[in-house]
Subunit: 209 residues, 4 copies
DNA sequence: TATGAATGAGCTTTCATTCAT
DNA sequence: AATGAATGAAAGCTCATTCAT
């Protein structure tokens, strides 16, 4: 077999491997919709994915790694969403906030896992670094938008505040008891918009001074 | 023994019982600081409290009951803190936000249990009602402060936004990896202050118009 | 205090002590009516008896001892019942069997405890001796009745067989599913009568030869 | 792999699975011989079987299920034993009684579980039905033998009495304290024989009349 | 590489018994 | 003598992980 053929085979194998990982991640995500992700068991994921229990351990060394991979997958998904849409201009602060919160709402597991790791998950140094990078990228994006809205020198602190505020919308209202999903989604979008307005107005003011 | 002596004894017993409950709750809380509260085991709590495992079940019929008792204890604690201090004037928006976030930071279990429920914990209807009442009281207090800062007709939505924003500070930064506790506390206070400023400025502006 | 007064006091104390034991035993028995005696807990007995948990241990060194005491109490009760009634003649074989089975049926706990100890209870040598004595007395009584009915030299084996047979009626039919208590009682009495007839006829025959 | 090879493999797996179940059941049975079956723990069974605790739960969803499986296994075993042996004639009354009691003695778990239910065990309706069927079959067999021995119209009641009597031998003497196993077995066989003789003679007499 | 049976540490909860009051 | 809070061993059961096939 020629070297290039071997390489092609390797690529194929890599693709197949990725496909399997995706299969497993999707199975896990579909279960997250039904119960807290901490209560999902390996057996359930394996069954849902249609693979053996052991197979999962051929792709992940532990459940936490799988969870973290799901987190990363979503994080990679959210970035381009925020950076720019097919249009010329990047989204404004308001769009940005609504998009982010809406993404969280439609991908609750992402939010849950992020919270889990933020609030006490034991991450490896490697994973910690990836988490930090991801968060930094999001913060950068928010900071840029804030600066576009007129924020000055302390824009980094405001970006932190805004990032926190948007996450808080989810934790505070994602499961408001007695409300329908539609009502909750509308409420979280409304709050995201209001949050953007408040941050914009506050910083615009600052800008004017 | 005289009736009054008997009553005194009963009071003593009740006090001792409360002391024990507090002992157990405190032990649990100190463990919550180190890991997700759902991962804390009865054995650990017992060991930390310096009592036998069975003793805990003399005071609570289940772990969940203990957890909820901790939540209530803190909820009862936070209200007077925010409503007014011994002084004449109630705290301003900035004080309020810093106080709340600082309370959350120094009472992580309260925040964790609240989060747990908000993200999908299964509480009894009774417990749900209590949680809602607590949250409503907090929202009322924030709304009043916002109105004092100049917020107009839509102050309720802003209060929701502010409440969410403050909670978000905790989830986003309470465990920032690689930072000392002091650094994190300083950061969360700084963010709370900034959040208050932003909300105040935005609504003051609104007020002027 | 005179010696006789002291003795009187001691008797009084002994009576009180017995009254307490009876109180505890009765409480236990009333609970046996509701659930398998192995599932009855010390706490339940104490509550039912209106005494503290520790009090029970002032009268019995262990639960098994209490159970055994209940067994003995009933055993002492059953003996005079079988030996003779107020009439001149002792009861015949048929009466004897029906009486015994009926006593078992109306005192299921007695039967259950007897079974428990017979089938695997760990009795102290002392208790074993008492159990054996009790059983021997019952066997003697049955043997006498069998001899009166005509049994010859091997009457001891037949007495064993009869004793076993009567106990077996209880284990086999005391809880026949789908039958009312009255039906079951009638059935066990009928079987006891039939058993007596069979044993009588078989041994009468033997007698004739 | 060819289809037939696959099928062979499946059969092998099924056999292995059955072998494991048998291994576990046998381990449990050997423990039942030493103590009341309700006191046997999962850990003990696992240790005795030489498997891990979790393994048992790969084969049974609960201990109760295991216990009932053991009961069924024995119930299936006892029927053909009583119905007929390889010979032309079915066993006579004497053989039948000795066989039954001897089976009980050598398969105490069957007897214990049967007793447990009879005295108040909570079986599912399904299990109750199976137990009743088993008992009815045994009664039928005894009744036939009694009729062969000359019993007339009331043979059903006598069959009930005989069934009870044989069971009673076990409860009354299976654990006679201070006797060796051999002595007890000999005694129970002797009593079974005597019981058969008594029932035969009583009914033969009835026949003659 | 895929598998799933085996594993055992670990979970919550119960309860007979002790012992300081 | 009476009490009941404290105790901890032990129960049934779960489940992430391993490993022989």
């Amino acid at each position: 077999m020629t070297p290039s053929a071997l390489r092609g085979l390797a690529v194929l194998r890599e693709n197949e491997r990725d496909a399997r990982r995706t299969l497993i991640m999707d199975a896990a995500c579909s279960l997250f919709a039904k119960k807290d992700f901490k209560q999902v068991t390996v057996r359930e994921i394996a069954k849902q994915a249609g693979v053996g229990v052991g197979t999962i351990y051929n792709y992940y060394t532990s459940l936490d790694e799988l969870f973290f991979d799901i987190f990363l997958k979503h994080a990679r998904e959210i970035e381009p969403l925020l950076s720019s849409r097919a249009e010329k201009k990047p989204p404004g602060l308001n769009d940005l906030c609504v998009l982010y919160v809406d993404y969280l709402y439609t991908h609750i597991p992402f939010y849950q896992i992020m919270s889990h790791f933020m609030l006490g998950g034991d991450l490896s140094p490697d994973a910690t670094e990836k988490l930090n990078t991801t968060m930094r990228t999001l913060l950068d994006r928010l900071e840029t938008a804030l600066q576009d809205a007129g924020a000055g020198k302390d824009s980094r602190v405001s970006a932190h505040a805004l990032f926190a505020a948007l996450n808080g919308i989810m934790i505070s209202y994602a499961r408001y008891p007695g409300r329908s999903n539609d009502e909750i989604r509308a409420h979280t979008r409304r709050l995201a918009g209001r949050m953007a307005d408040i941050f914009a107005k506050a910083h615009a003011d600052q800008d004017a001074s």
